[in-house]
Symmetry: C2
Subunit: 326 residues, 2 copies
């Protein structure tokens, strides 16, 4: 029935009333409404206006396996694509696939996550309609202590992808968020499985609020979406492909030196924390300072109030909320 | 039929002929032989002598869930006990259980591993009869860079357990093996799942050649078992319980300081490498030196030929084979 509803909407010249749809399909209003919701969940932009009916928007964001595959231009990452309607968490699925031997570069994307994961066991809201919820599976030949840098590489790739596809300047909140107009639009969760001295696999989870039209109340004010900031719908397939492309370029540069040295200049341009006040929650006690950049191995460089410079590992810091930035 | 064969053997005064067993059970010689093999696989010591038959040995090593549970005296580790007849790898199973939410201290033991794992994807021989193949699941509140020390803590616990139960002095070959009379009797494989700055879980796989009566040809000369070195059969349940007990004591000391400082003295007594020649295979090239001990964070202290001291991470070294030690 979904295909039929979609065809009627595409054929309609302007609005198509719910009543008309019910009659043509021989089903109830509720049934029609459910299908409409499924379609918006898949990224179709469907306007619903009281007393007029439904209308298919022009700038569809159809996010499907075949379409995504047709636009991915990478050599490795995403070539093995696992596109799911729903999953508990794309990171969990990617880890399971990794244990089962899935190759380097496997990409898991889900239209919906029932238990999206944030850092340290926090949940991550993943509404069906309009986000990109994906996880990259990597098997880099690097030591485990270097894996944390991959979060920074991924943040850079997401920022580049958004700029190239949407023309928007998202900035990086070290180490694992991206912000637009001071609100969070992307979070990154890097997990790894390792032995003492070698990595089994790394999974980089990336959640991006793209065409989300409404956020839960508790997130309003701290998070946003590309749609909410611009009023525009962006094609998730193209955005995903652009991020993968940027990732591949950045990742190759990373692997050459096994650090961020070739990426630092661009990273600093995008670093929202740069020259801003931060509060470092060190195990020995909190202190304030000014973030001056990151090191080639990904630590945040913080100038303390006494003028001395420290290097902060992500494990030792909570940077002051982005809403403090003027 | 296994239970019946066992009862007949226990009731028999001396040897019981295979013919007799066949007649009592109404089965073929092959069927009897298969059951005998199952029982020896479970740790029963059954002597088979041509023209006389089978005899149950006195010092049974019965390794079963209920018996093991009855001798474990720990507070946490092993209280959730998963005892399996066969598994691909206890580490893999422990990791799966960890992802599914199994608690800190879960212990996975298998009588047989079909794909036992060594370091860096190597295989590990796990014959059914006579080994302890187990994995501890831990959820320590430490940063990922400290996880490598847990291998050293585990090595210490295994050495203590063997000494307390068997009266044998196994020594530690840094970082993850134990040796007896210069041959390997235990290997440890630590794996972790982590975010950038916190651990999801650690799995410590421990394989011990206890009552193994014959090793594959390719391992003879480099590996051995407690049985092969002493001619005695040791009760694996008691040995496992003693290792868990020693582990719990050592682990508590580790967690107090989050390093090895409280364990160093004992560790150094058991370190087979101490004051011995080692070859360090550093990324920049190999060099020789004398191992002088380990640091409080688990690095091997190596005195180079020019007299300077270096700290070697496990990721940067292959220590020269134990057979080089005089």
């Amino acid at each position: 029935m979904k295909t039929e509803v979609l065809r009627y909407l595409k054929e309609a010249d302007g609005y198509l009333s719910g009543q008309e749809l019910c009659e043509r399909l021989g089903v109830s209003r509720t049934a029609v409404w459910k299908v409409i919701r499924q379609l918006t969940g898949e990224g179709y932009e469907i306007e619903a206006v009281r007393n007029r009916g439904y209308r298919l928007g022009g700038s569809d964001d159809v996010f499907q396996q075949t379409e995504l595959q047709s636009v991915i231009r990478t050599k490795t990452v995403g070539q093995n694509l696992v596109f799911l309607e729903e999953v508990d968490s794309t990171n969990n699925r990617a880890k399971q696939l990794a244990e089962a031997g899935a190759p380097d570069g496997t990409l898991v994307i889900a239209r919906q996550q029932s238990a999206g994961k944030g850092r340290r066991g926090k949940t991550w809201e993943s509404p069906a309609a309009g986000g990109i919820w994906m996880s990259l599976l990597l098997r880099p030949a690097i030591t485990p202590d270097r894996a944390s840098m991959l979060t920074l590489v991924a943040a850079l790739a997401v920022a580049e992808g958004i700029e190239n596809t949407c023309g928007l300047s998202a900035l990086i909140k070290w180490p694992n968020d991206l912000v637009l107009n001071k609100k969070k639009i992307c979070g990154i969760l890097t997990e790894m499985s390792a032995e003492i001295d070698c990595i089994n696999h790394v999974v980089i989870g990336i959640g991006i609020n793209v065409n989300i039209k409404e956020l839960p109340d508790e997130l309003k004010g701290v998070a946003t979406s590309l749609y909410l900031e611009t009023g525009k719908t962006f094609p998730r397939s193209l955005l995903t492909a652009a991020i993968l492309q940027a990732w591949e370029t950045c990742y190759e540069l990373f692997l050459q030196t096994m650090d961020l040295s070739a990426l630092l200049e661009r990273y600093h341009q995008l670093l929202v924390n740069r020259d801003k006040e931060v509060r470092v929650l060190a195990p020995g006690g909190a202190y304030d300072g000014i973030a001056r950049g990151v090191t080639a191995t990904g630590e945040l460089l913080v100038e303390k109030t006494d003028g001395t410079m420290t290097e902060v590992l992500s494990g030792e810091v909570s940077v002051r909320g982005i809403y403090d930035y003027a």
